[in-house]
């Protein structure tokens, strides 16, 4: 494989396209509402109408507005159809020839689409994720070629440093610094690991990237391998993502077949192979040291850091671990230059971030926006606010490790520092919108139950502390708790955060702490008075209890 071969593949692919392209979403969201049958229906309708030489039906990845799926796009007309059924297929195909159709049309001019800035999702919904030719046509593997033939490993690391890219998995650690550390650690064997163990409730960004554009992750990994001196990559993907696993398997096979993975890539001395490792349903395996233990075939429990994986990771070798979205940003950074990437976003948070909008919001789906976009723009303009005109109360970011940002802070920009200042975290990108009907102590209890169930059980504060915190929250929700119980809860929040071994325990109290910070009255209203250390009074209606307390 040399560059001419790559160009030939791209040109052949381009020449094969028909005048009209019907793109049918084949990502998990739309497939769960029958898009596979829709695609079959469209193909049959094209054949029945005798339009086989003018119209092509392409299965593509996520087209983002998941709540209106199955989605079908028609090019070059630029029309988006929503809630398409297999029965709609003949009329939809006829519409490509100028006929009228009653199928519901989406509005591509809506802020939900217009305000997006696509880097990671640029190919999503455009290319066929199961055909490498489709990715190559979209400039795929050009960055890998440029890196292998024109850049030294140090040039690549410097480009990532200059781009200002920060880890998209949650903590926001500067990616370039991590790459440089692994690159500078001398070792005969190093590894690159892609963390695709996305497990936050309400988060589906990484799944969509893997389902819609798996090659972008493979290309990012290969570039990372060259930069840090690794010849082996692992993608750790959770078993709950069967479609992503299948697409990755297909992508790895195709990349191997045409020599874009394997030995002597682009006729260079660089070898790189990628293997999949499938998780077994443990949330904690998203934590990097637990993830590595799991890859090694051990029980998925974290270990104390230092040593960090960059120094001693998989089988004690230096290991670079990056999240799916981080790796998907690499090829675009190399193709367009670090300065281009650094020009997007805010001073300290560069580039874009993909968010999964979920909860009480009109437009559920995926968005990619420049860092620094305000929460209000995301939730109200793009997301269309809460359905039925309800008032938004808070936005939860960062999953069980994050916090709830109250409505009065919606004008805050979304970047690492601002979210941390508000007691939440960027997290991997789940954004759950809550309206006035949501009760914050119940939200906190839900997330605490999640952490309690997902604690690995290794360290005491997380294993036993989450049980006690959950019990106290349950007491509060059931109006059985006293002010003393609330104090005990806050004490435990501090202790578990400070003493737990890994990020799961250290961040488990965050949903409690952040809802206490902004919605403390909701907790206090549920408390019953403490009577001189004696048994508390029988529970009455909250309101009267509250008045007595006054």
């Amino acid at each position: 494989m040399i560059i001419d071969d790559l160009i030939e593949i791209a040109e052949k692919e381009r020449a094969s396209h028909k005048k009209t392209v019907i793109r049918c979403c084949m990502a998990a969201g739309c497939m769960s509402s029958n898009s596979e049958a829709v695609k079959g229906g469209l193909e049959k309708a094209v054949k029945d109408a005798g339009l086989g030489d003018q119209v092509e039906v392409r299965g593509v990845g996520c087209m983002r507005l998941c709540c209106e799926g199955p989605l079908v796009g028609v090019d070059p007309a630029g029309v988006l159809y929503e809630n398409v059924t297999p029965e709609d297929a003949p009329s939809l195909v006829a519409s490509t020839q100028g006929a009228e159709t009653a199928v519901k049309r989406g509005d591509p001019g809506h802020a939900f689409f217009k305000k997006q800035h696509s880097i990671v999702l640029a190919n999503s919904g455009q290319i066929d994720p199961e055909r490498i030719e489709s990715y190559v046509e979209a400039e795929g593997y050009r960055a890998l070629h440029a890196v292998l033939r024109e850049m030294t490993p140090k040039d690549v690391v410097d480009a990532v440093i200059k781009s200002g890219l920060r880890g998209r998995g949650g903590a926001g650690y500067p990616s370039g610094l991590k790459w440089a550390t692994v690159a500078k650690t001398p070792a005969a064997q190093k590894y690159v690991v892609c963390n695709a163990d996305e497990g936050d409730p309400g988060a589906f960004m990484d799944r969509s990237v893997l389902e819609s554009d798996p090659h972008s992750v493979l290309e990012g990994m290969a570039i990372a391998g060259y930069a840090v001196g690794a010849n082996q990559g692992f993608i750790y993907v959770r078993a709950e993502y069967p479609l992503a696993i299948k697409r990755l398997q297909v992508a790895i096979k195709q990349a191997r077949q045409i020599g874009l993975l394997g030995s002597g890539i682009f006729e260079s001395p660089f070898n790189f192979t990628v293997d999949l490792r499938i998780g077994a349903g443990a949330y904690v395996c998203g934590e990097e040291t637990a993830l590595m233990a799991s890859i090694e075939g051990k029980r998925g429990t974290p270990r104390p850091r230092p040593p960090f994986p960059a120094e001693s990771g998989l089988w004690s070798c230096p290991t670079l671990i990056n999240n799916v979205e981080t790796l998907a940003n690499i090829a675009p950074i190399i193709r367009n230059g670090a300065e281009w990437f650094a020009g997007i976003g805010t001073a300290k948070s560069k580039g874009t971030k993909v968010f999964a909008l979920a909860g009480k919001i009109a437009n559920t789906g995926l968005i990619e926006v420049p860092m620094g976009t305000t929460l209000r723009q995301i939730v109200e303009e793009m997301g269309g606010g809460a359905p039925g005109g309800a008032k938004i109360k808070a936005v939860q970011t960062g999953g069980p490790s994050g916090g709830c940002i109250p409505a009065q802070e919606l004008d805050s920009p979304v970047d690492y520092e601002s979210l941390t200042r508000l007691g939440s975290i960027m997290g991997s990108g789940g954004m759950i919108v809550m309206d006035e009907s949501t009760k914050m102590p119940e939200v906190a209890r839900y997330f605490m139950e999640f952490c309690m169930d997902e604690s690995c059980g290794k360290c005491i504060p997380c294993r036993a502390g989450t049980v006690q915190m959950h019990r106290l929250l349950d007491k509060i929700v059931k109006r059985e708790a006293t002010p003393g119980d609330l104090a005990k809860l806050e004490d435990l929040c501090d202790m578990v955060a400070k003493t737990s071994l890994c990020g799961l325990g250290q961040n488990a109290p965050n949903p409690v702490v952040s809802t206490l910070r902004f919605f403390r009255n909701e907790y206090v209203e549920l408390l019953r008075p403490e009577i001189n250390g004696g048994p508390a009074a029988p529970a009455g209606p909250a309101r009267s209890n509250n008045e007595e307390a006054k």
Binding site: R299, R303, P304, E454, G457, C459, I460, R463, V467, Q468
Partner: protein, 241 residues
């Protein structure tokens, strides 16, 4: 540079020298400074799970487990403070509330590391609701018993079984509060094909969870230094009793 140079650090205001590869716990112990531990056991590798040995290190925001953190030149360590004592006591309270630790009827009463730590940290009562879980007792082994109600999941028995005896009988199954020590593929201990009945796990246990059959209240005392003796003999060829 000498590959095994000694380094100097400050622990609780005292200058201390220690081997380059030493952990904070080793350096402190060597200097006669006591850091509370529970999952640490001489002779097997450390896991940093019990969080009792957490110490403050100047310039590091997080608390670090002394048993797993290597020393560095000029490092400044504080092994006790008001907040550390508070956290340690809370950790112990959480342990006592987690399973069924009833000292008065326990074989290890008076010889129990958990009990001793609670006493040292002034833990005269537990502020949290007890879980009162219904864990069973495995009395299928002819010589030993395992009372899961007294287990604190320190995994000392597991590490001893794998890394000193090399039998690999004991392991951990489940996760979170449902974690439990198992034998082989989660079968009765007495049915285990791999157990050599060496009894090292019983010696390693800090509480009354693992015990010699036939011992009654307060009779179960053990000397875990025998394990370190075996490891020293094997690795350093030192036969020091």
């Amino acid at each position: 540079m000498n590959p095994m140079a000694a380094k100097t650090l400050i622990i609780d205001g005292t200058q201390v020298s220690a081997e380059e590869n030493a952990t904070i716990l080793e350096a402190a112990t060597d200097a006669g400074i006591k850091i509370p531990t529970l999952c640490h056991l001489g002779g097997v590798y450390d896991v940093g799970a019990c969080r009792l040995c957490l110490v403050e290190v100047t310039g590091v925001k997080k608390l670090l487990s002394a048993c797993t953190t290597r020393i560095a030149e000029g490092m400044e360590v504080r092994t006790s403070s008001e907040v550390l004592s508070k956290y340690r006591r809370m950790t112990l309270e959480l342990l006592f509330a987690e399973r069924n630790h009833v000292c008065s009827v326990c074989v290890s009463n008076g010889h129990c590391e958990l009990q001793a730590l609670a006493w040292q940290h002034g833990m005269d009562h537990v502020r949290y609701d007890y879980n009162f879980p219904n864990w069973g007792v495995d009395a299928t082994h002819p010589l030993f018993g395992l009372d899961h109600n007294r287990c604190i999941l320190c995994t000392r028995c597991v590490r001893v079984c794998w890394h000193i005896e090399g039998a690999g009988t004991k392991n951990v199954a489940g996760r979170g509060a449902k974690s439990t020590i198992i034998d082989d593929l989660h079968q009765p201990w007495g049915d285990s094909d791999t157990c050599t009945s060496c009894g090292k796990c019983v010696v390693a246990c800090p509480t009354g969870a693992l015990f010699d059959k036939g011992s009654t209240v307060g009779e179960m005392s053990r000397d875990a230094s025998i394990l370190e003796y075996i490891v020293n003999a094997r690795e350093k060829k030192q036969w020091i009793v």
